[in-house]
């Protein structure tokens, strides 16, 4: 916040508060580190409390400055979460595609956000550690649309897909759930960087211009109308041409 706006850009610039939520060790910090520093650490230690980071994202028509709260997934910090999502305009709810229980946890977070966060909040569901799945991610998602919205848990049959495939959450399961709830949906790898910038760019694009009020734009004040917009336009938004957009 302190120095936003200092960058005299021709394009309008606005800040977006974003919060990351999800079970411990799913890779929240790793995603942020990939996005902010384009770096990855093999054995990252758990976050204590929460970390605050900023990163700019250049869109064709404007610059978005993300103010990111990377929260700790450990249970004992859960009670602090409202403090971080209360005014957030966007949330990244992360699970680990090798761990079904983490999708269940993600679903709880989504429900909590829908109940308690700003009504217009843009939520992206992100399945991380895609590098651990042997098959191409696109093959998983291409046939995913017809699946029932059966949440989580039954990842077993996907295990047959390939040798050494650690995937336990089928793409279609998560995708169906995301569609039903009107969430953005991505599978990413913080390790390889796959799809990471895309998530943030998609979120940046998903925040309606009307809700952006310069550097201090606050999601909590947005109207319900905008929320409708967000939901309709963004479902399934695997944004194209995003990669070059972000300053990472």
């Amino acid at each position: 916040m302190a120095d936003s706006g200092a960058q005299a850009q021709p394009k309008p610039s606005s800040s977006v508060k974003l919060v990351l939520l999800g079970e411990a060790a799913v890779g929240k910090s790793s995603l942020v580190m990939r996005f902010v520093n384009n770096d990855f650490q093999e054995n990252k230690e758990p976050t204590i409390g929460a970390a605050f980071l900023t990163q700019k994202c250049n869109l064709p028509t404007r610059t978005i400055k993300f103010e990111i709260w990377d929260t700790a997934g450990q249970e004992r910090f859960a009670s602090l979460a409202p403090m971080y999502y209360r005014n957030a305009q966007a949330a990244l709810v992360v699970y680990d595609i090798t761990k079904p229980s983490s999708l269940t946890k993600a679903q709880h977070w989504v429900a909590e956000l829908q109940r308690q966060a700003s009504p217009g909040i843009v939520i992206a569901l992100v399945g991380n550690k895609l590098d651990l799945a042997s098959s191409n991610p696109n093959s998983g998602s291409s046939d995913g649309d017809d699946a029932d919205a059966a949440p989580a848990a039954e990842g077993e049959e996907e295990g047959e897909e390939g040798e050494g495939d650690a995937r336990r959450v089928p793409t279609k399961t998560a995708k169906a759930y995301a569609d039903e709830e009107g969430l953005l949906f991505f599978e990413t790898s913080a390790k390889t960087g796959l799809n990471v910038a895309e998530v943030f760019t998609a979120i940046a694009n998903a925040i309606p211009e009307t809700s952006l009020k310069g550097p201090r734009g606050v999601g909590g004040q947005t109207s319900l109308g905008r929320q409708e917009d967000a939901r309709v336009n963004l479902v399934g938004g695997r944004t194209e041409g995003a990669k070059e957009g972000c300053a990472c």
Partner: protein
């Protein structure tokens, strides 16, 4: 467990009764107003307090600290068990063989002094808190007596006369120096005799133990790896549930936990609180804190009191995660409660602490902090900038550079506990999580020395000294905290205070940059610790630790060039532990302890104002060592306001 042999229940002492629990339980309701814990006042220097007892801080600057009295008689040795005397030659593996006590005299007067101090100074109150007050526990004395050797000789008496004074003439001095030169080759050698077995063990100390295979085929090798560790820490609930172990997984440690638990309950059943026992060359020390039993198992040279201080620190880490009332609530509902769940993620912090103890930490040994050496006027500017930019909800503010304190700001009535700072430093500089995270952090934590019933919130920002206003993207990876890391820590009781404190940080950093303080800090960090010969040209000392008791701070020279590896440092710390245990053994109250081995000669010296530990090659004479020690004292006196934070920013 082989041969739990001579398990000796120790006489209940008083050190545990001074633990924080007892003093704070009554204040459960108080949220952040509980400041009656025995905390240490690192800033409000005890010199002010001791001035009431006749030693003003001014006089401390002007006049040399009182030299320890000369030994009047050596008859004191009569009280030593004669058997220990004869043990000496048969224990070549001890770092220091022929141990000689030089001054047992004036125990009475020393007692008076120390009692006065314990009434008036924060320093000794802290010691109690930490359970570090070794001298309270008679059993330690017995321990040491049984192991250490005392070999009074006529020659010792002669040296004893000379050690305390400046007896060496110039001629003699130059002779010594030239001797030193002649032995230069020798001097570059290690201060410690080679000990391949220890070296090998230490090298593997921090390696992970192999996973036990499902079919148990590698059980034996796993057990061997486990047993080869120099040090173990176990934490279990009083119901016997494992909570933490530094080495090995549950499967591996269950047996041990079972045995330890059985022994503890045996003694508890006998209404006798188990303190420690020896099995072979392994020492076990147990402390019970409320619903927890903490066990240290060591093959290193450490006294029970030193181990208890380490266990206390682990316990404080657990309280820091949970707070005391919430931990008690958990066990109140179910005695068999599994504490590992709420502690999830705390293992890395506990292990960072444990490994710090295993590597050896002067800070823990002395229960004191190290400060970044800065000119008094420079520190003053930083302090006043801190005060000027202080925001509403700030409780404590700290600037820490590569693990050393630069400046502290605090409210007049509230002091900072060194144990709490140790936990914070451990989290920031030893455990990687915060350091590696990037960005700024907002961390809820309980500072048990301050108040073990509630959480505070800590804003952490690491500065890039080259471009202080920019975000630090990647921090130097440095285990020893010797990188150019400067952290700004702002602590508040306000859960929602992040942006307020962040604003303060921006302000503070901008001002510090404007008034040149950032450059000064950078310079001081770059410069690092001086070497012994920077401090006293020509000094034979290889290393020393100087603790200012009143300030609860210590200073030391660089580990380079003589102690560059972790192994060298561990062996140096072994020596310091040994010296420290001697100084803090109750019945002796000795003021000077002198120790020699084939490869080194060392000295420990305590007065109400300071503790000094120093070591030189064995070629150094006692007189030269004593003189070098005196020179260090003089140097510290001259540099006192630079190496220590005295006064400081209070609002």
């Amino acid at each position: 467990m082989e041969g739990t042999g001579n398990a000796d229940p120790q006489t209940p002492g008083t050190s545990l009764e001074n633990a924080p629990t007892s003093s704070t339980q009554k204040n459960d309701k108080v949220e952040q107003q509980d400041f009656i814990n025995p905390t240490i006042n690192i800033i409000q220097s005890a010199s002010r307090r001791t001035s009431t007892s006749g030693v003003s801080s001014i006089s401390r600057e002007e006049t040399p600290p009182p030299l320890p009295p000369r030994p009047k008689n050596l008859a004191f040795f009569d009280s030593r068990p004669s058997s220990s005397h004869s043990l000496a030659p048969t224990r070549p593996q001890l770092v220091s063989k022929a141990t000689t006590q030089l001054s047992y005299t004036d125990t009475q007067s020393y007692n008076d002094e120390s009692r006065e101090e314990s009434l008036s100074s924060g320093a000794s109150r802290r010691k109690n808190y930490f359970g570090l007050n070794v001298s309270r526990n008679a059993s330690d004395a017995e321990d040491n007596v049984s192991v250490r050797s005392f070999a009074p000789t006529i020659e010792v008496g002669g040296d004893a006369e000379s050690i305390l004074g400046e007896v060496i003439g110039d001629h003699e001095k130059s002779l010594l120096t030239s001797l030193g030169n002649r032995f230069e080759d020798k001097e570059s050698e290690s201060l410690f005799p080679p000990d391949p077995e220890f070296e090998e063990t230490f090298k593997q100390e921090f390696d992970e133990i192999e996973e036990m295979k499902a079919d148990g085929s590698n059980e034996e090798s796993v057990m061997l790896q486990w047993r080869a560790k120099l040090k173990h820490f176990l934490i279990l609930s009083s119901a016997g549930k494992p909570i933490y172990s530094r080495h090995g997984n549950d499967q591996l440690i269950t047996n041990y936990i079972g045995v330890v638990q059985a022994i503890i309950s045996f003694y508890q059943g006998a209404n006798d609180v188990l303190r420690g026992f020896t099995a072979g060359d392994v020492r076990f020390v147990v402390i019970s804190q409320g619903p927890l039993n903490l066990v240290a198992i060591t093959r290193l040279t450490e006294s029970d009191a030193q181990l208890r201080a380490q266990l206390d620190a682990l316990y404080m880490q657990i309280l820091s995660t949970l707070t005391l009332p919430s931990m008690e609530r958990m066990f109140a509902t179910r005695a068999s409660y599994d504490l590992r769940r709420p502690l999830q993620g705390t293992e890395t912090l506990l292990s960072a602490l444990a490994d710090g103890f295993t590597r050896g930490s002067p800070s823990t040994l002395l229960s004191a902090l190290e400060c970044l050496k800065l000119r008094k006027s420079h520190r003053h500017v930083i302090n006043s900038t801190f005060l000027k930019t202080r925001s509403e909800s700030l409780l404590y503010g700290l600037i820490v550079a590569s693990g050393k304190l630069v400046s502290v700001v605090r409210p007049k009535k509230h002091s900072l506990h060194p144990g709490d700072l140790h936990l914070i430093f451990n989290m920031l500089f030893e455990a990687g999580s915060v350091k590696a995270g990037g960005g700024e952090n907002w961390i809820p934590l309980c500072l048990p020395g301050f108040n073990n019933t509630g959480f505070l919130y800590m804003y952490v920002s690491f500065l890039n000294l080259e471009h202080p206003t920019e975000q630090v993207q990647e921090r130097p990876v440095s285990k020893e905290g010797e990188g150019d890391e400067v952290a700004i820590l702002l602590i508040s009781a306000n859960k929602e205070g992040f942006f307020e404190l962040r604003g303060m940080r921006d302000d503070l950093v901008e001002q510090l940059q404007k008034n040149g303080s950032i450059d000064l800090m950078r310079g001081a960090v770059r410069q690092g610790r001086p070497s012994c010969t920077d401090i006293v040209p020509g000094s034979p000392l290889r290393h020393f630790l100087y603790k200012s008791r009143g300030n609860v701070q210590f200073t030391m020279p660089s580990f380079d060039p003589y102690f560059q590896t972790a192994l060298d440092r561990r062996r140096l710390m072994n020596l310091y532990h040994h010296l420290h245990a001697h100084l803090h053994t109750k019945p002796t109250h000795l003021k000077i302890h002198h120790s020699t081995s084939t490869t080194n000669i060392s000295l420990a010296w305590t007065t109400p104002l300071f503790e000094l530990y120093c070591v030189a090659p064995a070629t150094t004479s006692r007189a030269a060592l004593a003189q070098a020690a005196n020179k260090v004292i003089q140097w510290v006196r001259k540099e006192e306001e630079r190496v220590f934070i005295i006064g400081g920013a209070v609002f």
